[in-house]
Amino acid sequence: MVYLSLIVLIPLSMLFFKASAMGWNDFWGTVSAPRTLAAYRLTFGASFVAGLVNVVFGTLIAWVLARYSFPGKRIVDAFVDFPFALPTAVTGITLATLYSRNGWIGQYLYDWGMPSAYNFFGITLALTFIGLPFVVRTVEPVIQELDGELEDAAVSLGASRWQIFFRVIFPNLIPAIISGFTLAFARAIGEYGSVIFIAGNMPGKTEIAPLLIMTKLEQYDYAGAASIAVVLLIVSLGLLWLAGFIQKYFSKRIGVS
């Protein structure tokens, strides 16, 4: 417990201490400045879109991994965690190189009139990459534990496979999908390393909130950095609390604790 408070509690309380020391007006002034608001909008917007993309593809991948067997499945399964294992700086330079004007993938996207780096698209792309394992790993175990008898019952009552999916299977997956989305969303809000290389980092346009904290720090505006950080911290802790709450609520309702 001593170790814990030394390493976690004291440093963390400094953040609130610093932000509160500057007074409410200065705090609000920093947090509601146009540049800060633009950074928050970008961070939350891109994280939200990335979370939605991950819900669609993450659920699909979780389904394929949980229900089907195919050659090389174990390798594919291990690769889902790759974005989690790869250091963020490596992710960042790799994605920026791949999706820039001359990159392997970027050259085609640019030709199709879809500039893929140094804008909203690029930021969302990086956030989607890092969020994927969160959705897959939250949804996969739930699919594995689904009660097959419900599906059999639905078949015997004459339901089609699509009806079964949307009426029987999907409702059971919703809590896991929501909590996977929340985890990916929370991770994306704070993400720094994998995004800054592909983001462009133009103030007010392609500057994410964590980068703005970094910029304030380099200008020795410690109080400003702390106030932006406090807002981010509260949002991501709130989200995690929500994810925990959703999981608890639904597991009680379904009756598996």
Binding site: L12, I61, L86, P87, W104, V155, Y192, F197, L233
Partner: protein, 282 residues
Amino acid sequence: MSSRMESAGVRRTLIGVALLYLGLFIFIPLCAIFVHAFSKGVPAYFRAIQDPNTLAAIKLTLLTALIAVPLNLVFGIAAAWAMVKFDFPGKTLLGILIDIPLSVSPVISGLIFVLLFGAQTALGPWLIEHNIRILFAPPAIILATIFVTFPMVARELIPVMKAQGSDEEQAAMTLGASGFLTFWKVTLPNIKWGLFYGVVLCNARAMGEFGAVSVVSGHIRGQTNTLPLHIEILYNEYNFAAAFAVASILAMLALVTLVLKSGIEYRYREEIKATAKTGHAV
């Protein structure tokens, strides 16, 4: 069973889409790292890695991991032990504290150490007076890394310990074993795979951490640069081949981590199967 399965066509399409997505999104970037690393030839690759600044970065990264991992290993066991085997006031708080470093932005993790040790704080001037350099020097890098990686071991252990319960420990205690002996002979063998995986994860994160370390490091080449920071500098100097050469070291570390992970999961499943067959608790 067939009633629970889609038609072969749907099945193949779904597998195809999943594989295509993973291929495009994960496999291509992985290949790209190594292709770009060797884009200027094998000799250039090794020149980039043997560069004194790269070697210094490797050394600092190893030192950081060497301090952070054992510390968090000991703490992780203690925290998981406290969370699972005991009831005490503030247990929920402990659980939240364990999760915090994972959920806050790495930039914020670095920021708090700047606020703690910076020249404008209460602690800052005292440190300067006594000529102790923490910020923008290796000590801060190591501290930030400890902060960021410290949930890894505990979070792996808690579910494993919970699943096993404490019956076996209690049995050992009633037979007269001391607390330490019980831990060494009963608890440790039960949690060894979870523990091992936690250490692997913790190490991977310790060596790869970028955001938090970036805030507290002074970015002094050859002195306070870890591998990820060195990659950033090389990349921003348009020295792409060298940046990817250094990145490939970390990518290999990530691959080793994944191989160990799926290996452990496989062993674990086999052990559970064996238990189910013989009816004995392992």
